[in-house]
């Protein structure tokens, strides 16, 4: 058993047929393509330095990958071209045109076929985080690998976390506005990244969350409010932080969806409001930011003075 006999992730016959290329063309090898035309020199250098470049050698023990693995057989594209003609054209500053239209028209393929081009090698075992690609939001919305991964961009095919913001905001414009609100996660500042919480390659979970719940994603970094606590905030341990917090950005401090005390009064009965001549309590005590007194609002292990879990202590 080897990778060479592994099953591709989406072996849909119709899409596979789109990736075969011209049946009347032959494979000619990268040396007759990239190396012969200096127009591609930078692409060649970047590609050969990449992981897939290493796979141009059978010594790697990996599936062989070269230009024609993606672009299809290239004999028709270079028909009639010779190194001498390319050199002569270059001498007069002219780029020798090849019949690129005989190659696979990658840009105009359906998104599923574009993705299959990558997935036929990057099957689940090679890149295990692609397990959930097909049922994931991006695949369902006809987003292929291409908008995020440009294998000709350089030798490094891994997307740097610094680049993810621009990638995601190309489509998710509304999120960009949320990150410009006064309270926000530092995504615009380049100090936290969309991929910290989201798995763009697909996920079992809503909104492509990396973790099994939104809450599990939050407490990965916010361990100070993870719990479990003896006095938890009702069953919010079971629910999502988004009941109170706007996860991308908000006009209110601490990413609160609405400001206090209104946020809390949506679910909780306000404290007594009339002044008590015996105890001296006044209504002013009870209408502040609730968390001025209920400081352990996510949960606590220490009962309040009355012995209840009022999250004041």
């Amino acid at each position: 058993q080897s990778l060479k006999s592994s099953e591709p992730i989406v072996p849909l016959a119709e899409y596979e047929r789109m990736l075969v290329g011209r049946l009347d063309a032959d494979y000619v090898g990268s040396k007759n393509c990239l190396a012969a035309c200096h127009y591609h020199d930078q692409i060649r250098l970047d590609f050969e330095a990449s992981t897939m470049g290493a796979q141009m050698s059978a010594d790697s023990g990996m599936p062989l990958v070269d230009c024609e693995s993606c672009h299809g057989p290239g004999s028709l594209a270079i028909e009639g071209l010779t190194p001498e003609k390319v050199a002569a054209d270059a001498a007069v500053g002219k780029q020798t045109p090849c019949r690129y239209e005989t190659l696979i028209d990658l840009k105009n393929l359906p998104a599923q076929a574009q993705s299959l081009l990558c997935l036929k090698c990057h099957s689940a075992n090679a890149t295990f985080n692609l397990h959930e690609w097909n049922a994931g939001a991006h695949a369902v919305a006809d987003v292929s690998c291409f908008p995020c991964h440009d294998i000709h961009a350089g030798p490094d095919l891994i997307v740097s976390p610094k680049e993810t913001k621009e990638m995601c905001f190309k489509c998710h414009k509304e999120k960009e506005a949320e990150f410009l609100l006064p309270s926000h996660h530092p995504v615009m500042e380049g100090k936290s990244f969309c991929t910290d919480c989201h798995q763009p390659h697909g996920s079992f979970h809503d909104s492509l969350m990396r973790e099994e719940t939104i809450r599990a994603s939050c407490v990965r970094c916010h361990g100070e409010v993870e719990g479990p606590y003896v006095y938890a905030h009702a069953d919010l341990m079971n629910e999502d932080c988004t009941i109170c917090h706007a996860n991308h950005g908000s006009v209110n401090n601490n990413l609160l969806k609405l400001s206090q005390p209104y946020l809390c009064l949506q679910c909780h009965v306000g404290h007594r409001t009339s002044a008590n001549p015996v105890t001296g309590e006044t209504k002013g005590a009870f209408y502040t930011r609730c968390t001025d007194c209920h400081s352990q609002i996510h949960g606590t292990d220490i009962p309040s003075a009355s012995g209840r879990g009022n999250m004041t202590q």
């Binding site: 059978a58 719990g227 479990p228 938890a232 202590q313």
Partner: protein, 640 residues
């Protein structure tokens, strides 16, 4: 079989045909060195995630490809509290190693407390941190190592996550007796030094026609700062005066296992399943939680352009508490008070979604989705929560390319919830999205989109101590969410691009609020509106003057306001309860960047940022403070 595969390769004489020589690729590197000038006036929150001190800054990047080794190193240092390191090494495709360090500073809030009624002894305020500014440094390290076997496709991996949050924050808490007869609100400094460690070890491989991945996770959360505070409390009706603990941050430990299985053996069918078990223990109190999750997905693509997928998840969450917790005064051995602990809520949640996508003709795609979620709670009644909540959701969407230059997206979402647990969740909601993208000219791109959600709730359920609380009263809530945006991109010349955006975000709620009078009777303030909105404007200019000189300018301006308007006189004096939610602020960011490249790989860069945060109401009861700052960075770059 394996032997056949290798025989095939041998017969093709691959080795001979591919006498491949890895090219000589010279290493590429660049360094930059500069100085960062900072001028701050007012609150540091104007740049919430910047360490606002003058500093040297530096950076370097190195790429080397001496086959079969690949090495990449990127380092950016803005100051001692803000740097990023990305280190990658690969040996062929067999060993992949990455270390990512991301360290940044967060100017955390300092909410000013006020004595709302100095004429009464309580509630009072005890300010112990006058003039103090707070900030926390987050040092996050991610490490991953993957080793692949060259022939049999077995991968073994290790992932490490290490996060230290170190600094000082404001701790606001309640002292006095901690009960009605004597209340003191306190503001004091708290040392924070928390460490999160998550380590994952796993392996994946083919096992016949399925791929299997197994991982084990260990998590630790340690507190080295102030895990719990102690303060003097006055006597209450429940316990004598003494020194008691409060505001604990518990240390946690936990572990988990994940099994994932995937297959696409039959072609048009793709199936995946995962099983997860996770436990957590609170080392301060002994509270425990265990979660078991089983999930599966099935996708069927009967023909091109048509996809159906089904997902099902079952989550079993079990919480356990100790029967009692004890409060003690360390200075008084007799002052030990056991309190019974309430039974926690445990739950079982079943989630199912069915998604269909159909593309009848090129340029037109329909999508439909049905979501079902049912939560069954144990001990919910103790917490005045419904024993069961069921949610149903239906989504219909269409994407249509009306013309080669016009794209239309439409979406409608309906949700229905039986017995919602929280008042902020609707019983019914209708939402939608409309988006139109138009490319009237190759150099012009325009987008208009509008999203809305209308939510209703007829039977609010308030959590409180009085007997009147329940499901019987027809208390009402209505929520309107509206988001609109206009985006235009104009390529004025091949070297000059302008981008402008405007976004409007609105969150309006009208609902009945409830408060007690002194007798504990419910006082209903009906139809209290809460209005919150924000306008966000951005303008960006990118000017590529020449190969040597590039200019970038960006401005963003955000104006937001919020307020709610109770009518019950009890809530309006001596300080209106609405004062704390009343807010109007503006936030201006200006960014200008210029980079000039000389012929010999040298370059110069000037970067200027200006921020202005303004509390436009000057409301002492909100938690916004004015701040203004300039950051200028002058740096030199050298590339090889």
């Amino acid at each position: 079989g394996e032997a056949d595969d290798w025989d095939l390769l041998d017969s093709l004489d691959i080795e001979e045909d591919y006498a491949y020589e890895f090219p000589e690729i010279p290493p590429a590197a660049h360094i930059h060195l500069g100085y960062r000038f900072v001028d701050l006036e007012g609150a540091a929150r104007v740049f919430q995630y910047e360490y606002l001190e003058d500093s040297l800054m530096a950076g370097a990047e190195l790429r080397m490809f001496p086959f079969p080794h690949r090495f990449f190193f990127d380092f950016d240092l803005a100051n001692k509290e803000d740097y990023l390191t990305d280190l990658r090494y690969a040996y062929g495709d067999l060993v992949l190693l990455r270390w990512l360090n991301n360290t940044y500073y967060h100017n955390t809030k300092h909410v000013r407390l006020h004595d709302y009624n100095p004429m009464t002894p309580a509630p009072g305020v005890d300010i112990r941190d006058t003039g103090r500014e707070y900030g926390v440094t987050a040092r996050q390290n991610k490490f991953s190592l993957m080793v692949k076997s060259p022939r049999f496709p077995l991968h073994v991996y290790f992932d490490g996550f290490h996060l230290v949050k170190d600094g000082n924050i404001q701790q606001r808490n309640l002292l006095g007796s901690g009960y009605y007869n004597n209340l003191q609100r306190v503001s004091q400094e708290r040392k924070l030094d928390n460490t999160t460690r998550i380590f994952t070890v796993g392996a994946n491989s083919h096992l016949g026609f399925v791929e299997v991945d197994f991982a084990h996770v260990e998590k630790r959360f340690d507190v080295d700062g102030n895990p719990v505070l102690e303060d003097a409390y006055t006597a209450s009706g429940y316990r004598p005066a003494g020194i008691y603990k409060h505001s604990s941050i518990p240390e946690l430990e936990g572990s988990g296992n994940t099994l994932r299985i995937h297959t696409s053996y039959s072609g048009k069918w793709v199936a995946a399943a995962s099983f997860l078990q996770n436990d957590r223990e609170n080392n301060f109190s002994g509270a425990q939680s265990d979660v078991m999750i089983g999930a599966g997905s099935l996708m069927w693509s009967p023909k091109p352009g048509m996809t159906l997928s089904l997902r099902y998840t079952h989550r079993d969450l079990d919480h356990e508490n100790p029967a009692h917790v004890t409060v003690a005064d360390p200075g008084d051995s007799a002052a030990v008070f056991p309190y019974p602990a309430k039974k926690p809520v445990s739950s079982k949640t079943d989630t199912l979604s069915l998604t269909g996508k159909y593309r009848p003709i090129k340029g037109l795609t329909f999508r439909a989705k049905y979501d079902y979620r049912k939560v069954d709670r144990t001990n919910g009644g103790i917490w005045k929560l419904p024993e069961s909540t069921t949610r149903n959701g239906f989504t219909l969407a269409a994407d249509s390319r009306l013309h080669s230059t016009v794209l239309l997206n439409l979406k409608y979402v309906y949700k229905n919830v039986d017995d919602p647990a929280y008042n902020s969740e609707p019983e019914h909601s209708n939402g939608g999205r409309f988006a139109l993208t138009w490319l009237p000219h190759p150099a012009v791109s325009l987008l208009f989109s509008y999203e809305l959600d209308r939510q209703e709730r007829d039977n609010l359920n308030f959590a409180g101590s009085g007997e009147y609380v329940g499901n019987d009263l027809p208390w009402y809530r209505e929520t309107d969410l509206d988001n609109a945006r206009i985006i235009g991109t104009f390529q004025v010349t091949p070297k000059l691009t302008l981008t402008g955006t405007y976004s409007y975000l609105q969150y309006d709620v009208v609902q009945d609020l409830v408060h007690e009078n002194l007798a504990g009777d419910a006082q209903v303030d009906p139809d209290v509106p809460m209005e919150q909105n924000a306008h966000v404007f951005t303008v960006g200019i990118s000017y590529h003057l020449s190969d040597a000189l590039q200019l970038l300018g960006e401005i963003s301006y955000t104006r937001s306001e919020a307020g709610f308007f109770p009518s019950s006189e009890d809530l309006l004096a001596p300080v209106s309860v609405a004062s704390f939610s009343q807010m109007e602020q503006s936030y201006l960011l200006f960014h200008l960047n210029g980079h000039y490249s000389f012929n010999n790989g040298l370059g110069m860069e000037l970067d200027y940022r200006y921020g202005d945060l303004e509390d436009r109401l000057d409301n002492i009861h909100d938690d916004i403070e004015d701040g203004e700052a300039h950051i200028v960075i002058l740096s030199a770059t050298k590339k090889w």
